[in-house]
């Protein structure tokens, strides 16, 4: 129950095993590991903070919609427009819908959604928890015999893990709409024909692997933001730093995860 206040004395000072930087790095990894372990320990034990989980889902999902809609639509539209000339040289512009749909579902929608959520939601979580930490609101929850980790961290991480996949499917759909607009303007393809051709090439594995990796990205965004906020220090400066680090670290992790997942999915495809 006390891990929110791991003060400097919890870490052996003065003597370093390697060097100060290297030691701090490994201590940090250990703390992140403990943070994640605590999430899994507390996420599945009642009582559940349902109200807070639903509120967070709403905050994270609904408030990201405008930005996600715009980005998804434009990505689909522009990507189609830019791919058109090279396909036309081979007289293959009728392949556009299936090419685009594969690109969007397999790669673009998950990445665009994850990066936008990392920027918008990750920074928000880092700043919110960070300011609660430095103004002792988290300590206040702790001493009133309640569990701040469950209320603040577990609810947010569950919400991002649930909402990012849903937002990803939505981004995919909006992206296809953008793509359809370009195809319709050039070839007057009907809505039905476009989507039939688009979905003919998409397999169940494509969709399910994208949903699964979006769960992973959502989890990454939630955990990173919460970890940075929960361990913020140094007053208002620390709050800004927590928000900033949350975004940078989660984007970095998302790209690494993307590379690993692609290798993995291609191996079973």
């Amino acid at each position: 129950m006390n891990t929110s206040n791991e003060d400097a004395s919890a870490v052996p000072s003065k003597k370093y095993v390697l060097s100060k930087k290297a030691d701090d790095f490994f201590i940090n990894i250990y703390r992140v590991y403990k943070f994640i372990a605590r999430f899994f320990k507390e996420a599945f034990v009642p009582p559940y903070e349902w109200k807070e989980i639903i509120r967070q889902c709403y905050e994270i999902g609904y408030k990201s919609l405008p930005l996600i809609s715009l980005t998804g639509f434009i990505t689909g539209l522009v990507f189609t427009k830019q791919s058109r000339p090279s396909l036309e040289t081979f007289g293959a512009s009728s392949w556009l819908p299936s090419l685009i749909s594969i690109a969007i579902i397999r790669a673009l929608a998950p990445l665009v959604t994850a990066l936008i959520t990392a920027g918008k939601v990750g920074s928000n979580i880092g700043a919110e928890l960070g300011s609660m930490k430095v103004t002792e609101q988290i300590d206040a929850m702790e001493v009133s015999a309640t569990n701040p980790f469950k209320f603040l961290v577990v609810s947010r991480v569950i919400a991002t893990s649930v909402m990012v996949p849903i937002l990803m499917l939505y981004t995919g759909f909006v992206g296809m709409l953008g793509s359809f607009l370009n195809v319709y303007a050039n070839e007057q393809t009907s809505f039905k024909a476009f989507f039939q051709s688009a979905f003919s090439t998409i397999s169940f594995l494509d969709i399910s692997s994208s949903v699964l990796k979006s769960v992973l990205y959502g989890f990454t965004i939630g955990i990173t933001g919460c970890y940075q906020g929960y361990h913020a220090s140094n007053g208002t400066q620390g709050v800004g730093k927590a928000a900033n680090t949350a975004v940078v670290v989660s984007m970095f992790l998302i790209f690494i995860e993307e590379m690993i997942v692609v290798q993995f999915v291609n191996a079973i495809r």
């Binding site: 103004t135 002792e136 001493v143």
Partner: protein, 262 residues
């Protein structure tokens, strides 16, 4: 609130601290603290900024771990408890933070409900509402029930912070600088609130302050923290009768405004 005389039971120390030490890295903050707070007693702890007053009560409430020494609260050694035992002990301790620490995304009502609904899940909506209204009324701020913390003044925030801990009916109150940053009139109101809480809720308390008026009006005994240990303990008169330059300085600074040279 009606006033009842409170008995101080000198045979029952609700807080017993012996040879407590705490450092942060190279910085030694508490260096051999000994103190007893008896049942029914308000103990005022004086000390200048940075002497470790907040650290002391954070150790008492289990937010920080001591490096060594005995810290007994209501008969339990705080640093030896597991999470569940610590939670049970914390139900009996109220902690009023230096900066109030109100949950700023919640209304006053939600702030007060927060500890209540999580610790007593079987209460009905009506019981929750009446408990919230009762403590708010006791701190004289019933009219703010639907406001956000950002809309309140510093003194109001302090009172709401105190109300939020009272809702669990604690046996021990820990007040961290209840009058810091408040005007003299509001300070007097907070001081009498602290005394009323003692009478009405039967609490024992540690009142941390560097305001001598607050120490004098709320403290049955006072103790002065300096260089990591308690320099003197006793009633206000006893402590300031001690012939020590540093204590004299403290007194002069507060009441005569003389320049202090610690």
């Amino acid at each position: 609130m009606e006033h009842k005389p409170v008995q101080i039971n000198r045979n029952n120390a609700v807080i017993h601290i012996q040879n407590l030490r705490k450092s942060f890295g190279a910085l030694t903050v508490l260096n051999g603290v000994d103190i007893d707070v008896f049942q029914g007693e308000n103990m005022a702890v004086l000390g200048r900024s940075g002497t470790g007053k907040s650290v002391l009560i954070k150790i008492i409430s289990g937010l920080l771990k001591p490096d060594s020494g005995i810290v007994q609260v209501l008969g339990e050694e705080v640093d030896k408890l597991n999470a569940e035992e610590l939670r049970a002990l914390r139900l009996r301790i109220g902690f009023s933070f230096q900066n109030s620490a109100l949950y700023d995304s919640m209304t006053v009502r939600e702030n007060l409900e927060f500890p209540l609904v999580r610790n007593k899940p079987n209460l009905t909506r009506q019981e929750i509402d009446s408990a919230v209204e009762e403590v708010l009324d006791n701190v004289g701020l019933l009219q703010t029930i639907n406001q956000m913390p950002a809309e309140l003044s510093g003194g109001q925030r302090k009172r709401i912070g105190i109300a939020r801990t009272l809702i669990l009916k604690p046996e021990i109150m820990l007040y961290d600088e209840p009058t810091a940053g408040l005007d003299p009139i509001t300070s007097v109101e907070i001081n009498s609130l602290i005394n009323e809480v003692r009478e009405q809720y039967n609490t024992s308390a540690i009142v941390i302050t560097h305001d001598l008026t607050c120490a004098k009006t709320t403290g049955n005994r006072i103790a002065i923290l300096l260089d990591g240990r308690f320099l003197a303990q006793g009633t206000f008169e006893e402590v300031f009768a001690v012939d020590d330059e540093r204590i004299k300085n403290f007194y002069n600074y507060n009441f005569t405004g003389d320049k202090v040279d610690y």
